[in-house]
Amino acid sequence: MPAWVMAAAAEEEGGFWETAYPVLPHPGELIAGLVFLALLYLLVAKVVVPRLEKAFEERREAIQGGVEKAERAQAEANAALQEYKAQLADARGEANRIREEARQQGAAILAEMREQAQAEAERITVSARATIEAERAQAAAQLRAEVGRLATDLASRIVGESLQEPARQSGVVDRFLAELESTSSPQGVTSR
């Protein structure tokens, strides 16, 4: 190739590479390129890439671990929520039960009170009735005695005869009264 010949001639003068075509590789630079590439490659392959790969791996694991952790936290939160809900339901049931109990107790108390009041009322009524009865009986007894005395007094005065004799007296008065009672009754009231 003429270029080589010409360039080689120029080299004799020491300026071959100055005028050489730029597409001709300079051997020194070629070797330097190979050497520097090899140096950097060794450095990168032996030190830098393993370090970076380790970091990448760690990061991948960290991310995966983070995901797992998040999932675990989620599960825990869910469990806590379930528990809370269950507790809430329990509390609600408890409250209901207590309220129900209170209501029942209230009703029972009310019933008891009512019963007591009724009993009291009954008692009062009964005692009042008894008192009235007793008073009536007493009044009747007094009245009977009074009426007997009055009647005998009256009769003795009218008859003039002393009817003070107890045996007679009592028989007569009693008979009279029995007669009176048997004929009394409703009409007896108006006749009286």
Partner: protein
Amino acid sequence: MGGSLNVIGYGLAAIGPAIAVGLVFAAYINGVARQPESRGMLQPIAILGFALAEALAILGFVLAFINPGGE
């Protein structure tokens, strides 16, 4: 003003690859415009096509220097 016919020749030879490179990127832009999500897949392909088309220009570049008559 002096110069070399080689350089003119190289200029002429570069027209073809220039058009080819233009076509490659036109197609790439078209593709990305139609489907923006395919960009990552198309990019290496476009660059490869560009490199192949450019290879012709590079051959011309070398040949432009080989003829010693240009001085």
